[in-house]
Assembly symmetry: C2
Homo-oligomer: 250 residues x 2
Amino acid sequence: MTASERHRAARADTVVDPDPDAAAERVADGIEEGALVTVFGRCTVEYDGRASSTLGPGDRHVMLKPDGSILVHTDEGQQPVNWQPPGCTQDAELADGDLRIRSHRSTPDERLDVRFERVTQVSAFAVDDASELAITGTEEDLRERILDDPDLLEADFTPLATERQTSAGAVDIYGEDHSGRTVAVELKRKRVGPDAVGQLRRYVDALERDLHDDAELRGMLVAPSVTDRARELLERNGLEFVSLTPETGE
Amino acid sequence: MTASERHRAARADTVVDPDPDAAAERVADGIEEGALVTVFGRCTVEYDGRASSTLGPGDRHVMLKPDGSILVHTDEGQQPVNWQPPGCTQDAELADGDLRIRSHRSTPDERLDVRFERVTQVSAFAVDDASELAITGTEEDLRERILDDPDLLEADFTPLATERQTSAGAVDIYGEDHSGRTVAVELKRKRVGPDAVGQLRRYVDALERDLHDDAELRGMLVAPSVTDRARELLERNGLEFVSLTPETGE
DNA sequence: TCGTGAATGTCGATC
DNA sequence: GATCGACGTTCACGA
C-alpha cells in the first residue's frame, strides 16, 4: 500500500456541534479533498431548475459526493427530498452567520441552496471503492436466455439481429418464424402494462413502413406476465405474448 | 420544550472506529430509538429480490431510516448502489465477528445484507422535521394553468372534465372545441418523446370505441415541446400538439 | 393488493 | 448535447 493509497483508506474526520464558520470550513475542506462529506442539522432548502421547490426548517442529512452530486435526506423515504446530480459545482460558505451549501449546474440551469440554522455534525469520509456492482435478472439476461435457446419463444424461431434499428427505434430481437415470417420481439424483465404494448406496436408499424412489405409481420411481447389492459391492447393490435422470466429455473 | 421534544431535537451520537460488537450495539440501539443511523466503513453487499446483485469490498456510507428504508451509497452517483424501500425490517448483529446489517420485506420477498469488515464510524441522529416540501412546475400546475384560461389551448376550448375515465385509462383533460367536437388532452410538464404520443393515442382510440361515435374526435398533446420522432407519430396518428409550459411568464 | 402514470425521475448507450 | 429506453426505477393515487 502506497502513502497515497493509505491516505485514501477509510478515514473519517468528524466535528460535533461546530460553529457555523468552522462547519463551513470543514465542508469546504472536505469538498476540496475529494471526500464524501455529510452534514446533519436543522436547515431550509430551496431548489430551482426544471421545477422549483421550497422546504421549511427541519433536521436533515446532507451528503456531498466528490463527483458533484448532493443529496438531502429527511427521516422518511427512500428518495432524497432534494438533490443535484453528478457534475454540479459545490460550495460551502458562511452567509449571514449561517452555513450555506450551494450546488449549481448548467444545461439545464439548476440551483440548490441549503441553509443551516444549526449544524449538529459534519463528517468527511475518505472513500476507497474499486468494486463494481454485479446484477442479474435484467432484460439483458432475458435476451441472452432467448438467444441461447430461441425455441423458448416458439419452435423454430430464428433470431437474426438484436437492437435492429427501425424508424421508430431499435427492436430488441429481430428474427423469423418457421415459415419465414418476420418477427419483432420486445423484451421486458417484469410484468408489463399498456406502455410496453404501445412500444411494440410502434416498432411493428415502423417495420411495415420500412419494409413496405405486404407479407405478414408478427409482433411478440416477451415478459413474465401482462396486465388485463395490456392483454386487450395486444389482441386489438394483433400482437402476441410469450411468458418468460429473465431467470432460468425457479 | 418537553422532555420528549428535547429528546427529539437534533442530536447526534457518534462513535469512531468502534469494535464490531460495539458497532452492532450502536446500530441496533439507534434503530430501536427511531433514530436515523449512518454507518461508514468497508463492506460487501448482497441483494436478492426482484433481481439479484453482489457488490465486492469497498468503503460505503449506509443510512438506515426509522421508516425502515436503507440506502447504501458509494462515492459516486446520485442513486444508492443498493437499497430497500420504507417498511422493511432492519436488524444489526455480530456475525462471525463482523457487523452485519440486514433488511427484509415481503411482497415482494426482498433481502439486503451488508457485511462490514471494518467500521469507521457509526452515528445515530435524532430527527425533528415537521416541514413539507412545496413544489411547483409540475403537470398539476400545467393543468391548473389551462383550466384557469382554456383559451391557452385554442380559442373557445371548453374543459368538461379532468381525469375522465376511458377503457384505456384516464384522460388528463376532456373537453370540446368551438364546434362541439370532443377533445382529449394529454399533459406533459416537459419535452416529450414517442411514449406520450402512444399514451394519447390509446385514450383517443378508447374514446372512439367507448363513445361508438362517428363524429370526429380530436387528440391534443400539450407540452413545452416534442422530439422529431414524436412529431412524426403525432402527424401519422392525426393528433395535435400545443406548446405550453407549466409555468406562466418566463 | 394491483394497476396506472408522474417524476427536478436517474442512468447509460448512441448518435 | 439531445434522444431513447431500461430501471431492483420510486411514488402517490384509485379501484
